[in-house]
Amino acid sequence: DAGITQSPRYKITETGRQVTLMCHQTWSHSYMFWYRQDLGHGLRLIYYSAAADITDKGEVPDGYVVSRSKTENFPLTLESATRSQTSVYFCASSEWGVQYFGPGTRLLVL
């Protein structure tokens, strides 16, 4: 199906484990983004990518790693998960300034 998808939709993990959240878009949009959403903070940008092999930090990049070897995929890795990374994570892609968000991944770090 066309659009932007995220997997998994729900994830429970333990402190210290590595977790990878997947994001896939079928539009061939150049720009892709990762946000986290927490109560009282709104949407905060973690990393973004202007094209394949081009990534840059956002507001809250610490503890996260991204890669973009293909235009359509933009995985986000938590190298060693902490409780403070419990959040809802949204991936988005953009064309002409309009951001299209994926359905989100709810991550709980115990």
Partner: protein
Amino acid sequence: QQPVQSPQAVILREGEDAVINCSSSKALYSVHWYRQKHGEAPVFLMILLKGGEQKGHDKISASFNEKKQQSSLYLTASQLSYSGTYFCGTAVGGGSQGNLIFGKGTKLSVKP
């Protein structure tokens, strides 16, 4: 650098009007508005570019005053479907492409 939205929350009766404001301490090149319903992803409403233009989307419109570095979202004759959290986003580094910095959101509740 994060834009400031006001009010933080507003409760309306169906048919009433509301205004949500978004202001920035930095020069604005564009302002982007999104709505997020509970448990869902944010959805694009509109972009306003430099030039003070006003845009409309059904009974939702917005203005952009670049001199005052602020934008306002106007919801007219609100419907139950307008309930949700509204976010403004400001483009970083100019233009309307690229990454946005979002405000903390304004929660709008429309009651019958």
